[in-house]
Symmetry: C2
Subunit: 340 residues, 2 copies
DNA sequence: GGTGGGCGCTATACCGGTTTAGTGGACCGT
DNA sequence: ACGGTCCACTAAACCGGTATAGCGCCCACC
């Protein structure tokens, strides 16, 4: 089976390749009737532009890239990326842009991949996730002048475009929910502290607690199940343990719930649990977890739109997303009556 | 920053583009010294082939495709695909092949994507997952003559190449494990019955039970948490409920465990649970789940190698993977002493 | 009725590789 | 000394699009 080219169309229409190109790209230079005839033939023989030819000619690859460098083990349990990709794809489907997706060993490998993609003209731009403080990837991407949209980072970090969620509001929602239930001493189990994302959440969380007039502190973990369990155990062993814990992702929340239960701590009777990110996981466990839910698919779609604009020569700029909403479930309740 | 081309190299070396091309591709036609000089210059200025130019010239896209059409909600909680992609990427990284990855709404959209990719010459081949009985995608892929490796399907299905796991052995491992513990009446909660994969497992499971001389039956679910819970509830409500249940994936197993516990059934005291697919999830819940574990990363790598061979003109053919191994954890134990 | 301008189209260069045909020179044998 | 081979390399076509210069023709205008 041979793919039709514009030369085939040109021959059938009795015109030259150029005329066909004009017609197909809504360029002036052909009469309405000829244009109509050409479009008709193209449709009939099922012509589609050869992406390589187009890429070579106009100097754009017709593809964006996305690399994730978290270890494969963690990744899978995170619904976030699949939803993000679904959203990106939705926004890209209409045009002639594809998505190159890869998981890398580490950040070093990720940066090399950017260089390779750039050198081979594989992509017109990339999505970058898990931005870190003083992230070395930024320098690489700027050096390569590769259009980049940072997903989930603050506005204008490093001059790059970004799409990010309003974590201040989310933090306030969670804290106020707990404060309203009567909690006066809460904690949060965070992701890696060198993630921008974590720092922002920490600042927002502490400030919200401050405003609500309750005590709060954060302990560091690493998004893994083990990390969540260990942090929980440590928190419960404190002299005055918190009566509620907020976890930075669902995996740690579920794992922390398990650790608490194993330690004989009743949830939500003695401890309330909130997950900062919702997924089936949260509804799967018992009790089901109160969670902050955001529309990740829309998030991906907006990131893709932003990158499309950027790659088309648009000005860099950022866009905030609608804040997460709190979905109360069975894992949060008033704190136990004062002991002591 | 401008990307160097072979013309740049040619100029610096004082030869023509053709000589450079010969040198870079280990083609005869240049002297060893000239070849050396050219390679040196290429390395020095960091030349990489423009993928579009190469694709246009030699008629291959330099990329493979992978589409998943499960709803985004389920997907995320399945570590399988991320690991598969990691494996594929590992095998592809060395060469000049990229991976186009997409999640599609449904099979219709998936097939259209194949057509588009083919028409635009975007990919040299695709990986196909979740093969169904009488799968319409096969006809499309054959019509397009798009090299395809089916992941997780039986040998030679529809004449396509495949990479699949030995589910017979896996089924025997699970059944024997339960039989040895003393179970005489077991059940299995399956994925969608029109998946090849499910049918094979069902046959293998029933035969293994038959050989072990114990009673077994399967109930159909759909890989979702709800499906797993509902099926579990139904099984436990049977006049003579099974003393052990095997679930086709970790999500259903975890969810089934929760349903059983909510119904007041003790695991593993009254019911043993086995998950056919291992992941953090299985270790996260309490009790931790006995699971069949396979090396998904290697699986992906082998699939990629197979597709590379196929796209290079190799003969179609299939390859079996090492069977899963059973990892016993706390969720399996001897059945309760006979009531009645 | 000559001229200028715009329209509709053709011819062709170009993107950056690969590939084929061709060429000049060294070296060989006789 | 001369024809034949082989070797190292050059010139140019080609892949399938896009973009630009140019050409013939019709029409308006004074």
């Amino acid at each position: 089976m041979k793919r039709p080219t514009i030369a085939d169309i040109a021959q059938r229409a009795g015109v030259t390749k150029a005329a066909v190109s004009f017609a197909l790209n809504n360029q002036p230079g052909v009469s309405p009737t000829t244009r109509q005839r050409i479009l008709e033939i193209a449709r009939e023989i099922g012509w589609q532009p050869n992406s390589a030819a187009r890429a070579l000619s106009d100097g754009r690859a017709g593809a964006f890239g996305l690399v994730i460098d978290r270890p494969a083990g963690i990744l899978g349990a995170e619904p976030f990326f699949m939803q993000l990709i679904a959203g990106i794809q939705g926004a890209l489907a209409e045009g002639h842009t594809a998505l190159l997706f890869t998981v890398a060993e580490d950040r070093q490998a990720e940066m090399e991949l950017y260089r390779t993609w750039w050198a081979q003209r594989r992509v017109d731009g990339v999505f970058m996730v898990d931005l870190r403080i003083d992230d070395p990837r930024i320098a690489v991407l700027r050096e390569l002048a590769l259009p980049t949209v940072v997903v989930g980072a603050p506005e204008g970090s490093g001059g790059l475009s970004a799409v990010w969620t309003d974590d201040e509001t989310a933090a306030r929602l969670a804290v106020e929910h707990l404060a309203k239930l009567g909690h006066r001493r809460i904690a949060r189990v965070t992701g890696m502290t060198d993630l921008w994302h974590t720092r922002i959440r920490t600042d927002a969380f502490m400030q919200a607690a401050n405003e609500a007039g309750i005590e709060a502190h954060c302990v560091t973990a690493d998004y893994t199940a083990e990390g969540g369990a260990d942090a929980t155990t440590a928190l419960l062993a404190e002299p005055e343990p918190p009566t509620a814990i907020v976890y930075d992702n669902d995996l740690m929340a579920v794992s922390g719930l398990g650790a608490a239960q194993r330690a004989g701590v009743d949830v939500p009777g003695e401890l309330s649990v909130v997950s900062w990110d919702d997924s089936v996981l949260c509804q799967l466990v018992h009790p089901a977890l109160t969670a902050l839910r955001r529309d990740v698919v829309a998030y991906g779609a907006h990131a893709a739109q932003r990158l499309l604009e950027l790659a088309a020569g648009g000005a860099p700029g950022s866009r905030g997303e609608a804040p997460a909403v709190l979905t109360p479930r069975a894992s949060t309740a008033p704190p136990p009556a004062r002991r002591r």
